[in-house]
Symmetry: C2
Subunit: 282 residues, 2 copies
């Protein structure tokens, strides 16, 4: 069972969501215990800074003491799954850095991956303006869905309405939708009946053509700056660079997510996030 | 008030979320009315195909008849906001192609943007494996949050815990986090005290250096294919291409979202989505 010391004076929030506290409210706050002392169901000490307690107190829990939590892939932006959280679930996530939810059917905490090992390692947690919805921004280890799908969202309502026999299709934002299309073209080439001709297929089959296009498009992007062309021209040339470079990635068998992970690791200011997200040694 | 003919036999779903129906269930289904006839609160006829009705019947509504709906930017993957939906909210969204929710506080439907004109034009709707959570994949017109923020998620729990005076920071996936960092460096250059030196700032200030780097990195990416270098090298070179090209976009004042919108419009297979997402003439 869990014990906690929730219930201290909350910090208040401005309409823009910035923390602020009057001298009075701060002094009241610090008369509470200085740490959030909680034991998880597994008996782990979840002591957390006072600030976490005050932040959790600011959340507008529903009549069951729950809020919505959405797990999102930090590199791709894909929505992985959605669950519900209570205070202890968030406190556990903050201290253990693994996305943890409250199961309404089993009336208990559950850490995504506790049976499958497909954890979602947390990079940051965001609250919304209304304080009743949370994003777990994290990096999934393996597929998130219990079906083995990368995310739980693979049923398109539009496809189901418009097509007699709609196939599963992940909810993808544009970059990954394009990556998926290129990947389909590659699969068509490798299939016995290789479908309709397409520019993507030509590029996939001709490394010389592909590389000459990448160099040409990079040059054209540069010339939008050197020759002071307008913004729309720069956006269009960048689209060309991205597309052709993504065809090369498909030929090499590299995913955009791998590229973005490299960028994140290079540009994370402190490397602290990366360390926090690592699986702790047992 | 709304009237509807919900309640026909639902299609069943396989564990992978694919629709299937026995002959019996299909024949029972078609004994129901062939269309979902509903009048919205505004008196608009929301007649929808039978398939929508059966899909909506498959959703596991909670004890209040609601499910979670998450609005996501189709181009950037950013989670814009989260609300709740009932059957009529989804039916309205399907027919009107604007993200529509059910307000629990006001006990009525509301279409995001109905007062602000900041609509979210729908490109597709996804159901999750459990059928109790929905993604509205759409293109926002203007900022989504009532505070004027681009999304409702701008309070980082980690920042609030670790920093005395944490600033608002949007929940961004890696590409947009990098874009934001480049944008900050640009702002620092333009500020009176222009902060610490950085490679990004050097590139922002020197078009010749920037363009020579873009051409060089594009060439190195090509050589990973031409010289059969390993996958990790290709991913690393692509990261270089992306970063340097994004610095050029910052110099030109172009956002990645604009680039992705161009890619989406070029590669959407039918153009149907784009047409559907346009604001209908009144």
């Amino acid at each position: 069972m869990s014990t906690s010391t929730f219930g201290c004076q909350s910090l208040r929030f401005s309409p823009r969501g910035r923390l602020f506290a009057s001298k009075n409210s701060v002094s009241r706050k610090y008369r509470c215990n200085a740490t959030f002392a909680s034991m998880s169901e597994s008996g782990k000490d979840l002591s957390l800074p006072m600030k976490v307690e005050t932040l959790l107190d600011s959340i507008k829990w529903d009549d069951k003491g729950l809020a919505v939590a959405i797990a999102q892939n930090v590199d791709t932006g894909a929505i992985l799954m959605q669950g519900f959280v209570n205070k202890e679930a968030i406190a556990t996530t903050v201290s253990q850095r693994k996305a943890t939810f409250y199961s309404r059917s089993r009336s208990q905490l559950w850490t995504k991956g506790e049976t499958s090992n497909n954890f979602i390692n947390i990079h940051d947690i965001f609250l919304d303006c209304d304080r009743d919805s949370i994003i777990y921004l994290g990096k999934p280890v393996g597929p998130t869905c219990h079906t083995g799908a990368e995310t739980c969202y693979y049923t398109s309502l539009d496809d189901s309405i418009n097509q007699q026999d709609a196939k599963d299709k992940l909810a993808l934002s544009t970059l990954y939708s394009l990556e998926s299309t290129i990947s389909e073209r590659k699969a068509e080439i490798e299939a016995p009946q290789n479908g309709k001709p397409s520019w993507t297929k030509r590029l996939l089959l001709d490394n010389n053509l592909l590389c000459s296009k990448i160099r040409e498009e990079a040059d054209e992007l540069c010339r939008t700056l050197e020759e002071n062309e307008d913004k729309s021209r720069a956006a269009s040339e960048m689209a060309d660079v991205l597309y052709h470079a993504m065809v090369l990635l498909a030929v090499k068998g590299v995913e955009m997510e791998d590229v973005l992970q490299i960028l994140r690791q290079r540009f994370s200011q402190s490397g602290i996030e990366e360390k926090k997200s690592r699986v702790p040694k047992s």
